[in-house]
Amino acid sequence: MNSAPPAAKAIRPDDAHVAKAMHSFLADIGPSSALAMDSCIHCGRCAEACQFYVQTGDPRYTPIHKIAPFKQAYEREMGPFAFAYKLFGLTPKISAIELMQWQELLYDSCNMCGRCSLICPMGIDIADLVEQARHAMFVAGMTPPDFLGLLAEKEQVTGSPFGLTSPQMRDMLHDIGAKYGVVMRVDEAKADIVPTLSSIDLKTYPSSMAATAKILNHIGANTGLSWTFRTDGFDADNVALTAGDRAGQRKITLGIVRAAIACGAKTLVMPECGHSFTEMRWEAANAYGQELPFRIVQITELLAEGLADGGIRVNKAPQTATYHDACQLSRRGGATAAPRLILQSLGVDLHEMEDGGDANWCCGGGGGVALIKRAQPLRDKAFAIKQRQVEATGADKVFISCSGCRQTLDHGGKAIGWTREVASLLELVADNLRN
């Protein structure tokens, strides 16, 4: 099953596909996004919230400008006065060559972090509009090649961007269990809790998978709740989402949903990962078409719950550290409090970052930007803000709850010669369990 899905390679970025792309974009529009498209007053504040504009001064990175061609299509085709726009030719149709200029704006220079949505005085969710615009770019064949071929294709076929099949996954998990001395439960028929993984963890941080297993075993011992990994729905990374491939996104999502339903899960746990959480927590039920029979929590929420109700018991691990809020977990996802509860339970002396918390600056790697090689210089510029934030706290350790951020901070830190440690909150808890 190694043939690439025909759709990914067959899309030619030409004017016909651009027309189809606009059409697909417009199909997404309901009252709420129509209002968003209609409300912009050109105040320019969104630019001041965006790390890419702030660090480069290039006005093209103004968030609302990133969706300009789509806004024009909306006005011309679906807006309240579309007939007048068409009649007087107020917004001409965009050609493929022109639309290609927006590839960099929509992919390289946008983490979909949502700071722009937070600053907008008109209440426009610009980050969401960028996500919708990426759908159209995919249909137009204008997704950056870094996403396709390598990752999204493999993900479409195997469910994993690294092309891991179920048997391979199973073997990997058992190997990790053996290496870290942790009991792994894989593909059990029934379980109360189903955890999912991020492909970044698979590749770079296998210790977090061991930590997940260790904690779930601990919870099981204290509460009697059972758990299992399911290799028929394990990789929550969903590169297709950030690529804009709606069909692929839906496929991954439903794979996980069905796996959880199949084993009668009550709780689906999302890993240390940003977009996977927002995708599953807030969109999976819609892809499924009805309410889900299980609840969805991010791993930090599970940990905070357990620490609060006694399902998880820990020893104190006093240390000084700061915490980096992942955009999709805190600002966009609503899980800002959980990590802080965890740190408090462990006796960590938390030095909060200035401009952290809900308004935190993105690490620069989110939304798939970390995948795009040519975007490295831009990412480095964005990372400079993160560097300043962390260094200003005076802490030598940065905790994270998202592997994407972890990887970006690791790589970024290495490039500037940090001696700071970037550590996973999940692993902190796993390392300090009290049996």
């Binding site: 209609d38 320019g44 919230a49 937070l118 969710d125 819609n286």
Partner: protein, 219 residues
Amino acid sequence: MTLLEFARGPAWQASVLILIAGVAWRLVAMILLRRRPQFAAPRHGLPQRIGGGARTILTRFMPRRAFWPRIAVSVVLSATFHIGLGVIIFGGAPHILVIRQFTGLSWPSLPKGVIVIVSGVTLASMIALLLRRLNHPVLRLLSTADDYLSWLLVFLPVLTGMLLSGETVGGYGNLLALHILSVELMVIWLPFGKLMHAGLVFAGRGLMGMNFSRKGAAT
């Protein structure tokens, strides 16, 4: 028919009717689009979501501390302009009279000297905003003809109103006619351009607040 009679008579009627029709059109065209149902389990119930919507409407008037340094100038200029406009419209005696005529409500007015001064400050802030829009790289990229037209259609009423209040330049009758006509031009354009933000701002913030409160996300 003198210009003043035209302004107070058929022009006023026509502009109000166009306003009503245009606003209704624009809102209905958005409201009736296809809505897709939301099946994900909400973090908060409906009362909290409505409260979140209302709160967001208020909190977005004052940006978060993290954003403040980079947008302070924009916020101060914009606030000066909007507050000045509010003082003029709701504190100026003739405006209160118009409101009284159509709603029966009225309240004490400000002396016209105060209105003149506030008008001057408002005009100054508008000029500063225009200069900013013409020079700032982001605003130059984003701005369209609508931005400049809307600016002009608000500038003229404030200017003519200030001259009318000051009562030193121009004949009262003609200035009043020009003032009313300039307001009517603004009213006619309102449903079709960015001036509609006067209403959309509440809808957008409210919906975002409700939507994000549903997720417990930051508003």
